[in-house]
């Protein structure tokens, strides 16, 4: 009986159009996650065809299968350990020679393979024609043509997949790379040696194990010793002897000679299957690049694109943000009316709805930002951005590709950190994640506007600008420091392909945008919800507070005092009296709210922490505001509204709050220290959640929280105490 479910793995070079073929095959029925234990994205899709259930696994794009990068190890291990029924190798037809390198390595793994010659139209434009039958004959592998971005050939590919996966064919043992007399001799001798030493079955094909041991492959060595073979050492010794012999003979590392042989083999194939039909026609992509990476125009155009991206994100984003804001407000109000006054109402309205609402509001920004990033990636411009900015980023020990995530940080750190996925080196990724929160996000701006507006008057703009600049300077210094200490190691090499420009597919753009936004939304359901509830509880409990005065009695007294007059008054007097009464009551309410906050748990914690904040110029109210700011930075403003007794509804432009702040004993110096602290200390909950997800490590998450808080305190301390020492106030 034929098998009814088939697992296929998609392999291919980066930029070979692999994800487009994947999208064409599986549509939107995709699942995105991580490969176990690493932060390499794993995509899986399902489809039904001809009575078969197909599971398609998208392997990371790699140029090779040597175990030098995580992506290569992940791809190779999947093929070896999970044993998919079929491996589909997507080959960029317009770049045949280099793409065949991976193909020859896949053939060596002895699994069923089919070749997909993608972007055959582009190859034709370049004036080359590929003889697929010949290729298929020379490598003994079926080959199919597709044009991914026009969804051509998908049906035929599907038919081929099913028929090959179903067929009980003998794996071709011939027509593979011949490494030359000396290496072949070493391979067969080593194979023989392994066979004699190990009586149990090896999980992999013998010839392949021998080749990999001759190449000194770390992972295969681990596997051989893991298999519990006491003979492991003897095998490694034999392999090392063979390597030594080859090294002396060729005066070169054996793996280098073998790479040479593979390319030699490929050159032979390319000569047979590639026909030049016309002399190179106009290369449009190259002409576009003459402008976009032009010596003079390249950088200004890049700056323009980035500017446009932010304009789009924040101006277009304003409208849906307004809708969401009113929606959340309406939801809070309705819930407030339905639920009876009490603990549950407080929890739902002030805890859950307000907390999650303050983060949901960023969803439009995030969607637009990710759409732009997907556009940069799918057109091929992202590689150019890295090409243009590499020199600058190299100063911090980072790759050019880190520039975009750093820049996005000015908008919102959460999506910015998610965008670090485009970085290949794990160290680069972690470093970029660690310093990203130093790019001052837009949620911190209201705090700066309030403080600078209150204490710096006409110079507020300069003060805010200097805070942004401080963030950049710190990012550079901290980046360099980490690079030479905790993240020591070589900077990732910049061997980066600049793929031809391509018109993006709308469907692909939306899939990419949604994939990432989904992560953000999921985060909200978990971490942010819990965090909001905790902070709400801390400020709502204990329920029964022993107030210093009897607010209710005082309110009643005010009412009694005015009600008599209001009843008798007429015309203007009536309005004035009502206003006076309401003002008096609301002033009392504000005092009550302030006292309630002061006596709540969060207020008590704030008071306990006050001695820590005192040296940086903050009193207990400042420390409470910083604590609540952990949920979202903009909450700092409303907390200060409550604590400085100006009312909770105050925003950063409120005159009452400004006045209250001035009276509170804060000085321009302490305000500036506070701005610096807000810039640097623990990023908001959403960002911390994303850091955890993207580093896949609690250790790095804890490190990020700790270093940023200590650094924030040190900088604020230096500003405040240093300023006082030189006589500033």
């Amino acid at each position: 009986m034929p098998k009814k479910s088939i697992t296929i793995a998609l392999a291919g070079n980066p930029n070979s159009g692999k994800s487009t073929v994947f999208n064409n095959l599986t549509g939107t029925r995709q699942k995105t996650g991580n490969w176990p234990g690493v932060t390499v994205e794993k995509k899986e899709g399902h489809l039904k065809a001809n009575g078969y259930d197909l599971t398609v696994v998208d392997l990371p794009g790699t140029y090779s299968l040597t175990a030098y990068s995580i992506e290569e190890i992940v791809a190779r291990n999947f093929i070896l350990d999970e044993k998919p029924d079929l491996v589909v190798d997507i080959i960029d037809a317009s770049n045949l020679e280099r793409n065949l390198y991976l193909a020859t390595q896949l053939r060596e793994l002895d699994t069923k393979v089919i070749f997909v010659l993608n972007m055959a139209d582009l190859a034709m434009d370049r004036g080359v024609k590929i003889d697929a039958d010949k290729l298929s004959e020379l490598l003994d592998v079926p080959a199919v043509f597709t044009v991914g971005n026009r969804n051509k050939g998908t049906r035929e590919l599907l038919e081929t997949i099913i028929s090959v996966a179903e067929a009980e064919i003998e794996l071709p043992r011939t027509r593979r790379v011949y490494y030359g007399k000396d290496i072949e001799k070493a391979i067969s001798e080593l194979s023989q040696f392994i066979k004699e030493k190990i009586d149990t079955e090896l999980p992999y094909h013998l010839r392949w194990v021998a080749i990999k041991l001759l190449e000194n492959d770390r992972i295969v060595k681990e596997r051989v010793s893991q298999a519990g073979n006491p003979q492991g050492e003897a095998i490694f010794h034999e392999a090392e002897l063979q390597r030594q012999r080859l090294r002396e003979f060729f005066d070169e590392e054996p793996e280098i000679v073998m790479t040479d042989h593979r390319y030699g083999f490929i050159a032979g194939i390319v000569k047979e299957v590639l026909k030049t039909v016309s002399e190179s026609r106009v290369d449009v992509s190259r002409q576009i690049d003459q402008v976009l990476t032009n010596r003079l125009l390249g950088l200004p155009i890049f700056v323009f694109f980035i500017w446009a991206m932010f304009q789009l994100t924040f101006s277009l984003g304003t409208y849906p943000m307004g809708w969401i804001d009113s929606g959340v407000g309406w939801l809070g109000q309705s819930a407030g009316q339905i639920l009876p006054e009490g603990l549950l109402r407080g929890l739902i309205v002030d805890g859950v709805i307000a907390g999650v609402g303050s983060v949901v509001i960023f969803l439009p920004n995030i969607l637009i930002l990710f759409f732009c990033i997907a556009l940069f990636e799918d057109t091929g411009y992202m590689a150019r951005a890295a090409f243009l900015m590499d020199k600058v980023m190299h100063l911090i020990g980072l790759h050019g590709k880190s520039f975009i995530p750093m820049l996005m940080g000015f908008g919102c750190n959460a999506p910015a950190i998610m965008a670090t996925r485009t970085l290949e080196s794990e160290k680069d990724r972690i470093l970029t994640i660690l310093i990203n929160p130093l790019m001052s996000c837009s949620a911190r701006l209201p705090v700066y506007i309030l403080l600078a507006g209150t204490f710096f008057g006409a110079r507020a703009g300069n003060a805010i600008f200097s805070i942004y600049a401080l963030g950049i300077v710190l990012a550079i210094s901290v980046g360099r420091l980490f690079r030479s200490t905790v993240l020591k190691g070589k900077v990732a090499p910049f061997v980066m392909e600049l793929p031809p420009y391509r018109a993006p597919m709308l469907k692909g753009l939306f899939i990419h945008m949604w994939d990432r936004s989904k992560i953000f939304l999921k985060k909200m359901g978990g971490v942010i919800l819990i965090g909001s509830v905790i902070v709400w509880s801390l400020s709502a409990f204990p329920r029964q507070v022993q107030f210093s005065r009897d607010y209710e009695a005082e309110t009643a007294r005010i009412r009694a005092h005015y009600d008599h007059g209001i009843a008798a008054a007429q015309g203007n007097d009536l309005g004035r009296l009502v206003r006076e009464r309401d003002e008096a009551i609301s002033a009392l309410e504000t005092l009550r709210a302030r006292e309630k906050m002061e006596r709540s748990y969060i207020g008590r914690i704030g008071k306990v922490l006050a001695p820590v904040f005192a040296p940086i110029g903050m009193d207990w109210r400042g420390s409470v505001a910083m604590l609540t700011g952990f949920v979202a930075k903009e909450i700092v403003v409303s907390t200060m509204g409550v604590l400085y007794a100006a009312g909770a509804d105050e925003d950063e432009k409120s005159e009452a709050l400004k006045l209250a702040l001035k009276k509170s004993g804060m000085t321009p110096l302490s305000a500036y220290a506070m701005m610096a602290f807000v810039l640097i200390y623990v990023p908001c909950l959403a960002t911390v959640g994303v850091i955890r997800r993207e580093t896949n490590s609690w250790k790095w998450t804890a490190f990020s929280i700790t270093y940023s808080t200590i650094l924030a305190w040190l900088v604020a301390f230096t500003i405040y105490q240093g300023g006082r020492a030189i006589g500033l106030v």
Partner: protein, 78 residues
């Protein structure tokens, strides 16, 4: 001569990739093999990295990385 000493618009043949370890293998896997033709398409606006064309595709390398590649037969493209 080092590949990094070439000017924009020059073509040369790869003799040898120096250095050792993963980086060297990576360069070879990307096609920087002895006898391969390399064309210097352009330098980035800040003079680093370099954009090269080899085996029909475009790739960029940092200048100090290109300095590890020995080339010969340097000629100007007509």
């Amino acid at each position: 001569m080092k590949l990094s000493e070439l000017k924009q618009g020059q073509r040369a043949t790869v003799v040898r990739v120096g250095g050792y370890g993963p980086f060297r293998i990576r360069l070879l896997e990307m096609g920087f093999l002895q006898g391969t033709e390399v064309y210097v398409e352009k330098y980035a606006p800040l003079k680093d990295p370099i954009e090269l064309i080899l085996k029909g595709y475009h790739v960029s390398l940092r200048v100090d990385e290109a300095a590890r590649i020995q080339v010969e037969n340097v000629r100007d493209e007509v």
